[in-house]
Structures are given as structure tokens and as C-alpha cells.
Symmetry: C2
Subunit: 101 residues, 2 copies
């Protein structure tokens, strides 16, 4: 497995964050991660989501700077980068996650 690539805090863009969170499945995944803390890919995904789709969504979240992924033995643990996003775009995540879908 190649190492995961994460943008540095200062490389996180508003366009990337909005694009990533525009998708309702990714938004639900990120909401769970933000609310419940570090979690495995599997646990933070909607039930019955194909593994390839899940990987795609996690990758988009990771490349946008919203999620940090770490390999832990046989699975991948994902953490919401709340501090980084808050530092870049104050208030943004709270407002988006506070909106009714």
C-alpha cells in the first residue's frame, strides 16, 4: 500500500472542501467522523456501500484535507482534521454540519 498523501493545512482550499462536502454520502461520512472521533472506513460509511465507492469517497475527503488516514494493522483509520479546517476556514464546518440536509 502506498503512503497516504495529505495536503498541508495551508494547502487546503475552499473549493476542495466545498466540493468534497457537496456529496451527501461524503457529508454523512464526515459528519460521523467529526461527531464520533477516529473511526475505521467501514464504521463511518453508510451500510451496503460498495468498498470501491467507499474508498473513492474517503480519498476525496482526504485529498480535500478533511480527513487524515492512517494504516492500523489490517485496516485504515480515518480522523476528521477539524483543527486544520477550522484554522483555514473558521466556522465553516460547524455551519455546514449544522444545516439540515
Amino acid at each position: 500500500m502506498r503512503p497516504f498523501l495529505h495536503p498541508k493545512r495551508e494547502e487546503i482550499t475552499l473549493s476542495g472542501v466545498l466540493h468534497a462536502l457537496a456529496d451527501p454520502v461524503r457529508r454523512a461520512m464526515f459528519r460521523r467522523l467529526a461527531a464520533h472521533g477516529p473511526d475505521s472506513c467501514i464504521a463511518c460509511a453508510p451500510p451496503a456501500l460498495p468498498k470501491s465507492t467507499l474508498s473513492h469517497h474517503v480519498r476525496v475527503l482526504r485529498e480535500a484535507g478533511l480527513v487524515r488516514s492512517e494504516k492500523r494493522s489490517t485496516e485504515v483509520s480515518n480522523t476528521a482534521r477539524l483543527d486544520d479546517i477550522e484554522a483555514r476556514f473558521p466556522g465553516l464546518i460547524a455551519v455546514i454540519l449544522g444545516c439540515k440536509d
Copy 2:
């Protein structure tokens, strides 16, 4: 010219709004409309943007419920639907437009 179709306030979705504003050109156009009031398509676009690209961006903003378009003699006037968006998603537009790009 066919009449413009606008989603009703209650039909405006968070996904549509985030998708529309994820694009930096559309975000800049919407920022100008929100700050300077009703404006023509031409006046709210970045210089040198092809007319077809402009029309596409305005359509995405309109279909997301961010902009109301009205034909005025020979041109189209676009207005930011700030009240509708604020009613649907309180605080969202202020936070997004307040973020540094």
C-alpha cells in the same frame, strides 16, 4: 427564450448550494452579486470569460437556487437569492463568502 426555471425555497438543497459554490469562478460571480445587488450577467463575470461559459455558470447558480434570473429587454438580470438561502441554511453564505480563497 424559454422561461427560467427556479427551485422554490424549500426545494433548495445543501448539496446543490455547496456544489455551485465549490467552483471559484461561480463563487466570485455570486460574491459580486451578493455584494453589489442585481447585476447583468456580463457585469458580474470575470473579464474575458466566454459567453457560453458564463451562461453555464449562471445556470448552475440558478438551478442551485442561488440566483434569480430575469429577462430585461435585451439582457438578463441576475439577483442573489440571499433571503431564500439564509432561510434554508442560516449563516452558510456569510461563512462561505467570508472565507479567504
